[in-house]
């Protein structure tokens, strides 16, 4: 018997708990030659703003020990283009879609979300923790009141779609912020966004990234992400999409055992572009090997 992988993520019924992490899977279509988008739990799109954004000057990527820094800076073509050119392609491929929204003001978040809701998506992720933009982004995630305000605004326009707020862990107490966004109507939280970081080119005696600082992702941050998921599950009790350095089905299980209802593959897509697909099979095998018939049984099981 194949173990049951279906999960109910804050009301959203998913075939399996494997999602993509915003910004690492583009708008899904880029990976379509490699991954059958209809088979993964849901595709979380790159964060989108109201108007197009050009992003930060290159270099935008630096490798670090078991991790990488990025300073993309929310480059995206703006919500209209995404809704018009991309959503139809995703629908054609029967992908479940969670749109990630970003902005510089509370209103912008609301407008972008509204546009996605109108166009038809399965859920909204609110990125209030991007370390690579000056206004909005991280600034919102670090202030409990603004975090709550953004959440409330997106909640207001989201109808009955689930709203996941994506949090970082630096510069804030993640439990406090999670509590605030929960009160403001978040259906769940996505944990964690990248940590701020910097890499130095010692030959040139300057930072590697054009933007100087960037966001750290990959296996290096997995322990921090697990810590955050553990705490939110235990202290806030919100549904969690766990991410940070997930490179294998075993990594995914670690997050699920800590309390994540779903997991997202980020940097892992770069290392193995077929990782999402392979992880779904890997989860089946791992559960079967342990005699677990339904993945829901082990969500948060490490707390017992």
């Amino acid at each position: 018997m194949r173990p049951i992988l279906e999960v109910n993520l804050a009301g959203l019924k998913l075939k399996n708990p494997v999602l993509t992490a915003s910004g690492t899977f583009g708008f899904g279509v880029e990976y379509a030659p490699l991954v059958d988008l209809g088979t993964i739990g849901a595709v979380v799109l790159k964060s989108v703003t109201l108007l197009p954004r050009q992003g930060n000057p290159p270099p935008r990527i630096a490798e670090t020990p078991a991790g990488m820094l990025n300073s993309i800076g929310l480059e995206n073509p703006g919500v209209e283009v995404v809704v018009r050119d991309i959503l139809p392609k995703l629908k054609e491929r029967r992908a479940r879609v969670i749109a990630s929204v970003a902005g510089e003001t509370v209103e912008e978040y609301g407008k972008v979300a509204e546009r996605f809701v109108a166009a038809g998506v399965d859920g909204i992720e609110v990125n209030i923790s991007c370390p690579n933009v000056r206004r909005g982004g991280l600034a919102f995630g670090c202030d409990t009141d603004t975090a709550a305000a953004v959440t409330a605004e997106v909640r207001r326009v989201a109808g009955n779609l689930p709203v996941f707020v994506k949090l970082g862990v630096l510069g804030v107490d993640v439990v406090t912020v999670a509590g605030a966004v929960a009160s403001a109507g978040a259906s769940g939280v996505s944990l964690i966004n990248t940590l701020p970081g910097l890499a130095v080119d010692i030959r040139q005696r300057r930072p590697v990234l054009g933007n100087i600082t960037g966001g750290l992702s990959g296996p290096a941050i997995k322990p921090v992400a697990l810590w955050a998921v553990w705490r939110i599950y235990k202290e806030v009790g919100l549904p969690v999409i766990g991410m940070g350095g997930i490179m294998s089905a075993n990594d995914a299980l670690e997050f699920i055992l800590c309390g994540a209802t779903a997991v997202a593959v980020g940097t892992g897509n770069f290392v193995n572009p077929r990782l999402t697909t392979e992880m779904i099979d890997g989860l089946s095998w791992a559960l079967a090997a342990e005699g677990i018939s339904d993945i829901k049984e082990i969500i948060g099981a490490a707390h017992k």
Binding site: G23, T24, F25, G26, F27, E30, Y31, P33, L34, K46, Q54, G55, P57, P58, P59, R60, I61, A62, E63, P65, A66, G67, M68, N70, I72, E75, G218, P219, M247, T267, N269, F270, V271, N272, P273, R274
Partner: protein, 259 residues
């Protein structure tokens, strides 16, 4: 598109330069000059990301993909340590190829390891019977790679070395200037950014508009999803960032903004 490719040849061809041949018939069959592959250099989590390498040539019959690479950091050091019989995880072919017109006269400008993608291109151009003027610069005579292979292709070869140990003494762009740019239906180039920037202004001055350059940038995904490999290009609507991995690595020289 992702294969575990066995190493068939791993040979040092110059100080810090290696020639790698891997058995991966699917890529060998599809690859076009200018395209690249991304290789995982370690099975552990460090180094983490794949490394991009141009396809230097392929042997379709034997199913081989050949790569010419220089050891510059941790990934390439690990790669150079892998011997015959070991397997490498290879993703490709990726990226846009050079435009290869069926006939004409062509000028190719290579700097250092930039010869790698251009060799494949020259093979193709010569196979079509086209005339190729190759300007090829390197630090010294020993760094001029693929010497025999290039001779066999019978291009008009002009060499430059920084120390003058063979050919023109100076940069390949200076050589080109001193010889005068031969009339060509297309100029192709690959090499260090500084060389490409210099070449770009030389070509501009000379009024040469048809030129394709291979660019490099640090990469995440290699397939256009992460926007990590940005390069600034001119468009009618002003400068925008394009992706080296899918909009390139081959770009029209004119559109690139050198910073």
């Amino acid at each position: 598109m992702i294969y575990e490719a066995e190493i068939v040849t791993q040979r040092k061809v110059a100080t810090g330069c290696y020639r790698l041949e891997i058995y991966v018939p699917e890529i060998a069959r599809q690859a076009q000059p200018g395209q690249f592959v991304m290789i995982k250099t370690s099975v552990t989590l460090d180094p983490l990301l794949r490394r991009p390498f141009s396809i230097c040539t392929v042997d379709r019959e034997l199913g081989l993909v050949k790569i010419l690479y220089r050891v510059v950091g941790r990934g390439t050091t690990l790669m150079a340590g892998k011997k015959l019989g070991r397997r490498l995880n290879v993703f490709g072919p990726l990226g846009k190829a050079y435009t290869v017109p069926p006939n004409g006269r062509f000028t190719v400008v290579a700097g250092g390891i930039g010869i790698a993608p251009l060799y494949f291109l020259i093979q193709r151009l010569r196979a079509l019977g086209n005339e190729v003027n190759l300007f090829y610069g390197a630090q010294n005579r020993f760094d001029l790679l693929l010497a025999e292979e290039l001779t066999a292709l019978r291009t008009n070869l002009y060499t430059a070395t920084d120390n003058g140990s063979v050919g023109f003494k100076g940069t390949v762009v200076d050589l080109l200037k001193s010889k005068g740019i031969p009339p060509a239906d297309m100029v192709y180039a690959a090499g260090p950014p500084r060389m490409l920037a210099a070449l770009s202004s030389v070509l501009k001055e000379a009024g040469v508009t048809k030129a394709e350059f291979s660019l490099e940038q640090r990469m995440g995904c290699g397939i256009g999803a992460c926007r990590g490999c940005a390069v600034k290009v001119r468009t009618p609507d002003g400068p925008v960032y394009k992706r080296v991995c899918t909009d390139g690595p081959v770009f029209n020289a004119e559109e690139v903004i050198w910073e």
